[in-house]
């Protein structure tokens, strides 16, 4: 991919709303996972999650009349879009809205809204169901709501690919820009899995941690005593532009998206292919398209499924590609601090990686206490590390054996300065 740049970033996540708040908290290396309070989850095997606080205080034109028609996942997507556009210093009146597109990843749809309506369907009959259900529940609803709110009319798509959805959405958005079909792309993902039915489905699939008594220690990727991931709600969205367009409007230039590759294990419904062969192919192809030397990779943001199948196969794939040098590359899963946002996680991982490039700081994999002989890379355990990162990979994987890899390159030659990044949301923070 040539000259596609990230010019704006927005995030709504358990550690914070907006990149400044988010970054401030995730470098601390502490957990934002807690017992579920939204509903009685006492009979669920896993009843802990990363939950977003303070969303309702972000108004900015989102009226009560609008919000009553939306599920939480669309609400988070709207707030995140707004944060992203502000961060990118974009006034959409200056853009051709027919050449502006939206690419969103999502896995589950809007169950918080749908569940109460389904209950009413069975209790009260068809007339008990809100007409807003029609546009609230389905995975493409956030794309639709963003397009309606901002009047965006260009080529757009929603991608459902389990935990790889938003990384794919960003990639498809970038490729559409590259082909010249659009001038501006909003790309990312949103997910709201903390609902009775959605959480039940995740529990049934048996990939969730059951360390309910110690939620802060529950999500432990690459640790020998891991027992699964913890779900989280949240959204992450980027603005993407062609470099010359972004330079013309003096936009913030965060990072280049250099390549993307995706493939399938073709192995099992639940487990990943044990040797990580297909993931290794995806990494090799992403490196090849980006034109990156293997020696040039400074950081890998891992999928970090926290299952034996996921962690071991991901580790083997990295070792297959990088050989002896694999142990020298920091590989971390910052999501261990706040949970896995499923269809939104890839976009949040991209944001975390870009922030790490800008601040020269790698966020850690927390809860790493017991080394697993099968997982023997540098997982940046428990504490952030200072490191100059110019080139990085982001890995997202989904159930059914989906592998997705994106290569990113820091745009500037040095770490972020306030002047270079134009005073966006993030620039209110000084370097940690």
């Amino acid at each position: 991919m040539k000259d596609i740049v990230i010019t704006g970033m927005g995030v709504v996540a358990p550690p914070g709303i907006g990149t400044a708040d988010f970054w401030h908290h995730i470098q601390e290396g502490r957990s934002f996972v807690s017992p579920i309070t939204r509903f009685d989850s006492s009979l669920y095997p896993s009843r802990i999650a990363g939950q977003v606080n303070g969303l309702e205080s972000y108004k900015n034109g989102f009226s009560a009349r609008l919000l009553k028609k939306l599920d939480l996942f669309s609400h988070m997507a709207l707030v995140t879009s707004d944060l992203t556009l502000k961060d990118a210093k974009i006034d959409l009146r200056n853009f051709n809205l027919h050449r502006t597109g939206i690419f969103m990843g999502n896995t589950l749809g809007g169950w918080l809204f749908a569940e109460t309506e389904l209950r009413d369907l069975y209790l009260e009959g068809r007339e008990g169901v809100s007409p807003y259900m029609a546009s609230a529940w389905f995975p493409a609803a956030p794309q639709g709501q963003i397009s309606i709110f901002y009047g965006i009319k260009g080529y757009s798509k929603t991608v459902v690919a389990d935990r790889a959805g938003s990384l794919m959405a960003i990639a498809y958005g970038a490729r559409t820009l590259e082909r010249g079909k659009l001038d501006l792309v909003l790309a990312g993902g949103t997910e709201a899995p903390v609902t009775p039915y959605a959480l039940l489905c995740c529990n049934t699939y048996d990939f969730l941690s059951r360390k309910n008594d110690t939620p802060e220690n529950a999500y432990a990727p690459f640790d020998k005593n891991r027992d699964g991931l913890v779900v989280a709600e949240g959204a992450g969205i980027l603005t993407l532009e062609r470099l010359n367009d972004a330079q013309r409007r003096n936009a913030p230039l965060y990072a280049r998206i250099c390549s993307f590759y995706t493939n399938c294990d073709g192995y099992d419904r639940v487990a990943f292919e044990p040797d990580g062969t297909c993931l290794a192919v995806a990494i090799e192809e992403a490196l090849k398209e980006a034109g990156f030397e293997k020696d040039g990779i400074d950081y890998i943001c891992a999928d970090g499924a926290a299952t034996a199948s996921g962690d071991i196969s991901e580790t083997r794939a990295i070792k297959k590609v990088f050989g002896r040098r694999a142990k020298e590359i920091p590989v971390s899963a910052p999501k261990s601090m706040f949970g896995n946002m499923l269809g939104a996680q890839g976009s949040v991982d991209v944001i975390t990686t870009v922030l790490s490039m800008m601040y020269g700081t790698i966020c850690p994999t927390i809860n790493y206490k017991n080394p697993d002989p099968e997982c023997d890379l540098d997982y940046v355990p428990n504490k952030a590390q200072n490191k100059d990162i110019k080139r990085a990979l982001v890995i997202s994987r989904g159930r059914g054996g989906i592998n997705a890899v994106m290569a990113l390159e820091r745009f500037s030659n040095g770490h972020m300065t306030k002047k270079a990044f134009g005073g966006g949301t993030l620039c209110q923070l000084s370097k940690a």
């Binding site: 009226s63 009560a64 009349r65 009553k68 028609k69 007339e127 809100s130 007409p131 807003y132 029609a134 546009s135």
Partner: protein
């Protein structure tokens, strides 16, 4: 409570609008920007409140408050 007052309350509650935004002789789509799903919600609430059945072609987003008052009063008279 008058029919008019009852209808006004439903519109205010269902659409989260201010009382002064409701105009007697303007189409709901013009005065309040009502869309079709919102109109279904208004109709369902009117049916419950006044214990009547409304055909969804009798009241639409192009109806005014006066149109709705006349229709509901006629339904209640004939019931």
């Amino acid at each position: 409570m008058s029919v008019e007052q009852g209808i006004r309350e439903i519109i205010i509650e269902t659409l989260s609008v201010q009382p002064e935004e409701i105009k007697m002789d303007e189409k709901l789509s013009d005065s309040l920007g009502v869309d079709s799903t919102e109109m279904v919600n208004v109709i369902l609430s009117l049916e419950k409140k006044f214990s009547i059945h409304l055909d969804d072609k009798q009241i639409t987003k192009f109806s005014s408050l006066r149109d709705i008052i006349i229709l509901i009063e006629s339904k209640r008279t004939t019931a």
